[in-house]
């Protein structure tokens, strides 16, 4: 027990944050609605995973660019454009639509990544341009109206419950998370992405191909956001011209409470998944309680503040200093006891 406690204490805030938030949200989800007379059933868990399926990949796309020390605003644009393109291109075959959308997302990400890497441009500025262009394209393709997806069978199949709590939609998203987690955790690419986000100048000095890494990350981000948009449009059997900022707020919050830092270099796909799941639990809980939307917004905002505070350099410094002082005091006491 004490070994487990010691291990828990030695975990960095980047690891602790997603664990703590996820546990807190699971607790909230299990206790609060039940105490208000809304017991949790398998359908509630299904709806949590559906929310996760809708926005999880946007969080992963944005989170990956944040780990690399950048910020991809165009994930929101690609989410919208991906939906519209999937509806337009996938009428005969949903699979073909998804493949094309992912390929277009990759191309958009590659162009933005190349601009950012080779011209050393600020990613916020470049991807803001990307976002506006993509939203414009989405509106043009849909003639400023929502477009229905006529292949309704696909929509039904995609959201059909599997083992009561899953659906094809949520399983595809979970599989994408697993793939990216393997890529980040078990290949040299993951190490390179964290290195580039942690210290770009040093990464160049020691021989990391910084430009390639950045282009790769933005390409992957485009693919994931496109996939998210396509799946969402098929689920709803509709593509909307402008999804608003909700997916971006969800994604940024999930990434930050998932242990990704704005400064870059830290975070994992598993952490982002935990963050996205925590956000989905929160939204589902308030959904079950039929709370007004502003309650969810206030709580989400507060969560974000707490998550950011956990990684504040000054607070971390102070905690490290206090911990060091405590340990040296303990060591002195132990030595005194032995003498």
């Amino acid at each position: 027990m004490s070994a487990a406690l010691k291990r828990l204490r030695s975990l960095s805030p980047e690891v602790l944050s997603p664990v703590l938030f996820l546990l807190a949200m699971i607790g909230f989800f299990l206790i609060v609605p039940t105490s208000q007379g809304h017991p949790i059933g398998s359908y509630s868990i299904y709806s949590v995973l559906q929310t996760f399926g809708t926005y999880g990949l946007v969080a992963l796309a944005l989170g990956l660019t944040m780990i690399a020390g950048e910020f991809d605003l165009s994930t929101l644009g690609m989410f919208a454009l991906g939906g519209m393109l999937a509806v337009k291109l996938g009428e005969s075959s949903a699979a073909l639509g998804i493949v094309l959308v992912v390929a277009i997302g990759a191309l958009a990400g590659l162009i933005q990544g190349a601009l950012i890497a080779f011209l050393r441009l600020n990613s916020m500025a470049v991807t803001l341009g990307g976002y506006i262009t993509m939203i414009g394209l989405t509106g043009t393709l849909g003639h400023d109206k929502s477009v229905s997806y006529l292949n309704v069978d696909t929509a039904i199949k995609l959201d059909e419950p599997i083992a009561e709590i899953f659906s094809r939609h949520s399983l595809i998203v979970l599989a994408a998370f697993v793939l990216v987690a393997l890529l980040m955790g078990f290949t040299r690419l993951g190490r390179a992405v964290r290195a580039v986000g942690g210290d770009r100048k040093t990464s160049r000095t020691v021989g990391v191909r910084v430009n390639l890494v950045l282009i790769g990350v933005f390409t992957l981000s485009g693919m994931l956001a496109g996939l998210a948009g396509g799946l969402n449009a098929y689920s709803l059997a509709t593509a909307v011209t402008n999804p608003g900022v909700a997916p971006l707020v969800f994604a940024a919050t999930a990434a930050l409470i998932g242990g990704v830092t704005v400064a870059g270099g830290q975070g994992t796909a598993a952490g982002i998944a935990a963050g996205a799941l925590a956000m989905s639990l929160l939204q589902a809980s308030f959904g079950i309680l039929a709370s007004p939307i502003w309650v969810t917004e206030i709580v989400t905002g507060l969560l974000l503040v707490v998550a950011v505070l956990l990684t504040a350099p000054l607070i971390r410094d102070r905690i490290a200093n206090a911990r060091q002082a405590y340990e040296s005091l303990r060591a002195r006491r132990t030595a005194g006891g032995i003498d």
Binding site: F186, R191, A192, R194, G198, D199, V206, G207
Partner: protein
């Protein structure tokens, strides 16, 4: 060890490199043989870093030939240098804080596999760490949790892991303890015995004499001499680095010895480098903190300016205790700080000279929250005139030379009411000779007006040109305090380059 007959591992022939008008390296030649540990010595600006950067693929020479194992070998990138068998341990630690030790050891390695097999990586990491004496270090630990000395050893372990034919160590021991230095020496001797040629760049002449087989001395970008270390002693090496001892005239009358310091420092500790420092600076006195890179002088300047959240100790300005850790509090107490990085911590490069000069005194030129141009103009004009840039007052700072940019940065600190102490970190870094003289004049005139000056410098010429009192630092500690008139360049170089416990042997 190498022999004169063994084939050459590395050959520099007639290599030249200029940065703009500044000639960093002129017709430089060097030969390294397998197994040789060769020192590269010289003062700041001698050209050592340029040799290292060319070899590591970070800059390209303008002229000359470079051969590795008899084949032409000009690296155009760090990756290419690695493929040519060159491994560099840089003086600035190049580890990624957020990654683990094992990840850092694998980073950038040209032969790292696509799959990250953690068990294999950690086992290889343990082998490498053992070679530098870090047997008990867990490879899974994040680098951010390591002490400075451990970081340096991990960096050396990484270079050893590249199995390079040429290993460059650029000031590898600046931050290490004696025991850690012993581990580094053992590791270097071991790779040398395996046939690796080692280029050891260091200011620490004691270490050069102890570790290296041969030495090349550079001065002002020119090769002065290459010799076996057995042919030279430390005093001769210092003489070669300095050239002749320059005659120095007293440019100003230093303030009298009597009187309490306007700034008194007692027990200033700045983890992890400076354990505790006592110092007094009197009004009008110019005090130099002299030492090599990493000696702790920069840490002291920055801590006094409020830029270290971990600093502790007692600092009094005119008797009043200063709260450390806040730049705003330090400024309000009369401490004015000039960073060693004017571009990122000093100037608004896109704004005019006038805007930069008045940037910290807008309050006194404002009324009701509005900056009044009629109040700005005369002050900006006067300050620009005082630094000799009146005609360029409206030019963007980015258009100025490095020397003029530094004058603008310094000019902003001058004539500020309430200033008690100027804190200058490498006040003439990257400044040409003419600009340097102007900057020194500005500092002297501030001191003549009664402001104390504490500056950190690694450059001997600057220290002797400017200081009334020279405080030599080594490994975070004060080695000696002396009036400029009572010491010599030889003595200061000895103090800067040797540990306190072997000073007597040198003096």
């Amino acid at each position: 060890m190498s022999t004169a007959t063994s084939p050459e591992r590395l050959r520099f022939q007639g290599v030249c490199k200029s940065y703009g008008a500044v000639r960093a390296l002129a017709d430089f030649s060097l030969t390294l043989r397998p197994g040789e540990i060769h020192a590269l010595c010289g003062h700041n600006g001698a050209g050592k870093s340029t040799v290292v950067k060319i070899l590591a693929g970070l800059v390209r020479p303008d002229e000359g030939q470079i051969e590795i194992d008899g084949a032409e070998a000009l690296a155009r990138s760090p990756q290419q240098a690695q493929r040519l068998g060159v491994a560099l341990v840089d003086q600035e630690i190049s580890l990624i804080d957020v990654l683990s030790v094992a990840d850092n050891l694998m980073l950038g390695s040209a032969d790292q596999p696509f799959l990250n097999r953690r068990r294999a990586a950690r086992s290889r990491a343990r082998d490498l760490l053992r070679r530098v004496g870090l047997d008990s270090l867990d490879p899974a630990r994040p680098v951010s949790s390591l002490a400075m000395g451990e970081r340096q050893l991990v960096e050396i372990a990484r270079a050893l892991g590249h199995d390079a034919g040429i290993l460059i160590l650029d000031e590898p021991t600046a931050t290490l303890s004696e025991a850690e230095i012993g581990h580094v020496f053992d590791a270097v001797r071991s790779v040398s015995a395996d046939g690796t040629a080692v280029l050891f760049v260091s200011h620490r002449l004691g270490e050069v004499m102890e570790l290296c087989h041969s030495v090349t001395v550079l001065r002002d970008g020119q090769l002065v001499r290459t010799a076996q270390t057995t042919e030279l002693d430390r005093a001769e090496l210092i003489q070669l680095m300095l050239g002749h001892e320059p005659e120095r005239a007293l440019r100003r009358e230093p303030p009298a010895e009597e009187g309490r310091g306007s700034v008194t420092i007692r027990g200033l500790a700045i983890p992890p480098r400076v354990p505790g420092l006592d110092l007094d600076v009197r009004p009008g006195e110019i005090v130099a903190l002299a030492g090599q890179v990493g000696c702790g002088a920069t840490d002291v300047i920055r801590a006094l300016a409020g830029h270290s959240s971990r600093a502790s100790g007692e600092v009094r300005v005119d008797g009043r205790r200063l709260r450390l850790g806040s730049p705003g509090v330090a400024r309000a107490a009369g401490l004015a700080f000039l960073s060693n990085d004017r571009k990122s911590e000093g100037l608004f490069l896109g704004r005019s000279v006038g805007d930069n000069l008045v940037a910290t005194r807008l309050k006194e030129m404002s009324s009701g929250g509005l900056v009044l141009e009629r109040r700005v103009e005369p002050v900006a004009g006067r300050l620009a005139a005082s630094i000799g840039l009146e005609e360029r007052r409206r030019s963007a700072v980015s258009e100025l030379s490095g020397g003029n940019q530094q004058k603008v940065f310094l000019g902003r600190l001058l004539e500020q009411p309430g200033t008690r102490l100027l804190l200058l970190d490498e006040p003439t870094r990257g400044v040409d000779v003419g600009g340097r003289a102007d900057i020194h004049d500005l500092v002297r005139s501030a001191a003549d007006a009664g402001v104390g000056v504490l500056f950190a410098s690694t450059e001997l010429d600057e220290i002797f040109d400017l200081a009334d009192t020279i405080v030599t630092m080594f490994s975070g500690r004060v080695v000696a305090v002396a009036r400029r008139t009572e010491t010599s360049t030889h003595r200061v170089v000895s103090e800067m380059t040797h540990a306190p416990n072997d000073r007597e042997a040198v003096a």
